[in-house]
């Protein structure tokens, strides 16, 4: 799991950044995101925490256009992905996403789950795609399980397959939507370990999570969202040790 090159994640920012510029989104009359202004710097892990229903997931889903903001701009590097006529499918190949409930393709083997998009989107030959897939599976410590069906795996293994599936496309940014919330406690560690390795390797990551320890140890910055607004943002030690906003203090008292 620690085959990835070591690189300090603070300091010089490599990699692609994501910027949100006054992003608004509502479902019907319910405003879910209000005037979100945020930069997730390249090569840094940005953790987003907040009460459920606060808009964290929606913000993440806007980042690969599973949801469309009503107004505001989202920039992936220098490209405005919210621009009219932006190539959504091409943008999504640059942004990997991992879901709370894994969402593996249940009719396909583990190997096919990871290699399908390489063959269909990247138009790789089967053999080449499967070589890449095998390497990605090995990187998440799942070598040898290529022929299994998702239903034969534990939740932790399924989630690592999902991570390998996203990584196979060589994305510049990875999004994690409560990736460990559906896992049994003893399986959480392995998945967090993979995410930690990715962060150390300098991947730009936006991580919606309830794992405060992970946020404190891995994040370059932590963001608190409540009722669709960013109420606090800062480096982890400041965020957790000297929270300023009363709502964040209240939230941290409840979860820590």
């Amino acid at each position: 799991m620690s085959e990835m090159p070591e690189r300090r994640q603070t300091g010089a920012h490599h990699g692609t950044s994501v910027r949100f510029d006054r992003v608004n989104k509502s479902f019907g009359r319910v405003a879910v995101l209000r005037d979100i202004v945020l930069e997730a710097p390249g090569g840094v892990t940005t953790c987003i925490v907040g009460p459920s229903g606060s808009g964290k997931s929606t913000l993440l889903r806007c980042t690969n256009l599973l949801e469309r903001p009503e107004s505001g701009r989202i920039l992936l590097g220098e490209i405005e992905i919210t621009a009219a006529g932006a190539n959504v499918d091409a943008i999504r190949t640059r942004v990997g996403m991992v879901f709370q409930h894994f969402h593996l393709f249940s009719h396909l083997s583990v190997l096919d789950n990871v290699s399908l998009a390489l063959r269909k989107v990247r138009r790789m030959e089967r053999e080449q795609a499967e070589d890449v897939a095998r390497a990605k599976l090995a990187a998440v410590a799942l070598g040898g399980l290529e022929r299994r069906r998702p239903s034969d795996l534990s939740g932790g293994q399924q989630q690592r397959v999902a991570i390998a599936r996203a990584l196979a496309m060589e994305p510049e940014v990875m999004l994690f939507d409560e990736a460990t919330s559906a896992l049994d406690p003893e399986l959480v560690k392995d998945v967090l370990g993979v995410m930690r390795d990715l962060a150390t390797a300098g991947m730009t990551m936006i991580v919606v999570t309830h794992e405060m320890r992970f946020a404190r140890e891995v994040a370059g910055q932590v963001v608190f969202i409540d009722q669709g607004r960013i109420l606090e943002l800062g480096p982890p030690d400041e965020f957790f040790d000297r929270p300023r906003h009363p709502r964040l203090r209240h939230f941290l008292e409840k979860v820590l």
Binding site: L66, M97, F105, S106, H107, L116, D152, R165, A166
Partner: protein, 243 residues
Amino acid sequence: MSEGFHRIFSTFFDPGMIVQALPEVLTVGLPNTLLLSLFASAIGIALGLLVAAGLLSGYTSVRLPCRGYVDILRGLPHILTVYLIGQGLPLAGLAIFGGNTYGYAALAIGLIESAYFAEIFRAGFQSVERGQVEAARSTGMTRLQTMRHIIIPQGARRVLPPLTGQFILVIKATSLVYLLGLTASQREMFAIAQDAAINNANLSPLTAAGLVYLALTIPTTYAVNAWDRRIRGARSTHAVEGD
């Protein structure tokens, strides 16, 4: 009372009449019934797939006409649709099958059934977990690629039992084409029985046809139910293992 019973018996269940009607029902009617059922199902399934894709479209301009198509064909009495297609098309100058009533008959039944097949496919496709669709789109797969590689392979498996069940209904629905007046060699089971019933002023030939319909539909129904149970059983054990 016993006289009434006797009258019913001799009108519907005259053994001599039934035996007399059976050979033609079996040699001419049965092949035609099966052939019509297959043609109609082929048309129905092909159209049904297209319409199902339309029903799931994100575009209202595609979805609404498909919804209208399904609602109208399922809402009209089948007899009316058979007349509209079988006699209406040639009258309208759209003699796509020339004078061949067989073609119109298959088309009419196929159109009616496509509405039912479309609903079966739609339900099957919609039963595929939405998250898997989002996961596929997140890797950059297009709508069409997602349909082809994720939704259809999973939906098709779940749809096979209800599809076969619908085929049984198609077998029965083909009896309606006697309305269109087929030539002697094109008649399916019901038309043959109907003709014999009129010629003999006795309804027993219809009973003969009914027996053959039952011989086709009852075993198939039980086979489909057993198959459906097996698929459901297999799926629920998997769900338990997954949890």
